[in-house]
Assembly symmetry: C2
């Protein structure tokens, strides 16, 4: 069976092709019964909307948009602080991969607390100024996702497992599970988990990490202690401050798993300023494995994320959806495994742990800085 066009759909549904086009681009403007008739016709014909809809547009823009949802709070990067962020790094990687494939990358942020925020993204999509969207979501009910689904516009979610969508996500639970299991197996008993927060909002990724933390402790027979799960922001300043507070307690933990490397940099600094030895007194683990982690003093054990692979997968999937070579119900959904990179901040490891999967020893030889 050849590729169906919207004219085939229109014929089957007994409507004009303009009405089908309207369903594709502005479903909210079409009466519900008409829309349902047309949607049924699409299903019957195995109609791939993106490919066909494209033929009505001027031409492919060869552009994709990376769209970030931001809260009402102004972001660090708008305050003029020179500070690496995971999003910024991911965006750079998307720009490089898009470039290699002759695509232009558009960078948009939208404020989910601003009533006009979504409208402006919608116009980007409706005017076909981009062929597809990468959605950086931190919650499953992100209104941008609902909008793109309603318009049947090509998109892939980055960083979160949203059912019914194409997505790429880090194996957040496994990442922290491996780190905590390693710490327990090498002698730590009182392990603090610095739980990342943003404006107090509960993030699914953090919930997943917390699950990994709790399951690793339970498996090792270490009783959980809610006092050891500590909220902090995603930056060095917060890591520094929260660690100082922690050191004022009567009982100190013997390890800290930080929300990310930036937090861990602050943790290391606070421990140093208070004369607490790392790893002898407290061991520290970061998350993201920034290049910088190899150059802290002591060098930082961290969780490496396969960002380039995730970006390539996301981009390739999006292009398949745009070009119609992937059927709508053939969802590309992938959890990407992480890797624990062990350095001096957690000390030497026992040989029986070193060979386990997910645990790789690269310490002891100058932190990769040779």
């Amino acid at each position: 069976m050849g590729q169906m066009t919207i004219k085939d759909v229109a014929r089957r549904a007994g409507v004009s092709f303009q009405t089908v086009s309207l369903v594709l681009n502005h479903p909210e403007r079409v009466a519900r019964t008409t829309r349902e008739t047309i949607e049924a016709a699409m299903r019957e014909l195995d109609f791939v909307p993106s490919l066909a809809a494209r033929s009505l547009r001027k031409k492919p823009s060869r552009s994709i948009a990376c769209v970030f949802s931001v809260g009402a709070q102004p972001y660090d990067d708008a305050s003029g602080l020179m500070q690496e962020t995971y999003q910024g790094l991911v965006l750079q990687t998307f720009a490089a991969v898009a470039d290699q494939h002759g695509y232009t990358l558009i960078h948009r942020r939208w404020n989910s607390d601003d009533p006009d925020g979504l409208t402006r993204i919608t116009s980007l999509v409706s005017e076909a100024r981009v062929d597809g969207v990468v959605v950086f979501a931190d919650r499953r009910n992100d209104p941008l996702i609902a909008m793109l689904q309603a318009k049947r516009f090509p998109f892939v979610v980055f960083g979160l497992d949203v059912p019914g969508t194409h997505f790429a996500m880090r194996a957040e639970r496994d990442a922290v599970y491996e780190a905590v299991r390693y710490l327990v197996q090498t002698g730590s008993r009182s392990i603090c988990f610095f739980k990342g927060e943003r404006g107090g909002r509960r993030l699914r990724t953090v919930t997943e990490r917390l699950r990994g933390y709790r399951e690793a402790l339970a498996e090792a027979g270490v009783p959980p202690c809610d006092d050891l799960v500590i909220p902090c922001d995603w930056n060095s300043e917060s890591g520094y401050r929260v660690t100082l507070d922690l050191l004022d307690r009567s009982v100190r933990p013997d390890a800290i798993v930080a929300a990310n490397d930036r937090v861990a940099f602050g943790v290391l600094k606070a421990l140093h300023d208070r004369g607490v030895r790392v790893p002898d007194d407290i061991r520290v683990v970061g998350f993201d494995n920034f290049v910088q982690a190899a150059y802290t003093i002591p060098s930082l054990t961290s969780i490496e994320v396969p960002t380039l692979e995730m970006v390539r997968f996301t981009f390739a999937t999006l292009v398949e959806v745009i070009e119609g070579t992937r059927a709508p119900d053939d969802l590309a959904q992938k959890l990407f495994p992480t890797r624990l990179v062990i350095r001096d901040s957690t000390g030497l490891i026992r040989s029986d742990v070193a060979d386990r999967p997910g645990v790789e020893r690269i310490a002891a030889r100058g932190d990769g800085a040779s």
Copy 2:
């Protein structure tokens, strides 16, 4: 006198307005004598091309492109390394500022060694998919600048003082001059300058910095020593390696001015690994003042760059040019002063230095990490 249109220019030059439009958009397709006649008419009428040319386009795209020139060498960010870069941070700031003004940001890179590289940027401009361009140039004869000038397309150069263009640049010479003067005045005599390089290419910004280094030494009567000017790459790995080499010499310097903070992080690590005390044996200064500089051990003295101000100036200028409210010969050219932020890596400073302009003391009270 009211705003001139391309029809006024056409009348004055005795040609059709389509020919004027062609001169604006594809000057290479117009015979030289015709083009010169039209250009003379534009000058006589004080014609502002961007505003008028826009009226012939469909409508403003409300998009601007940030275009980076990259060499044949693949960049770090394409290798999957999670690493902050100055460009990445600047781009994040542009995205935030553009968002605040309802502009979409397009991120493009072009390879100056690829014959088709410039062509793809040209199409972005010719098809009016963007209203203006921010050029990230590291040499004055960047072909992208020549192309944009030939097309009279709105653009501003970021990071370099290119004559005849609107630009925003850091006061590179003054920045290093201040740092070296401070080091000399507080006792350093053998000051190493880690000169950033990219593929061995001579960068004007680095030449400017070197001038500041030499002038500060000359002013203090410290004889210059070419052995102390050392090429290095712009990353921690290079800073680490170059420092180890330096420590193998028979005579050690007493201070190092690094090409940027990432380099300085590698310097601090190498000194630590070799048991060299900072600042007692060797003092260290970075450049960029990343947030991370406050959290190194010891915290890093660095040169703060007013990135947000530079981005705002660049964006505001570009919008003026796009909207035609700035006359073509009214060039917006600004050198932005930097600020030396003194922390523990250069030790305590004498009170007679502390009050000088450009030297600010924020050390001694917990590195701002309180």
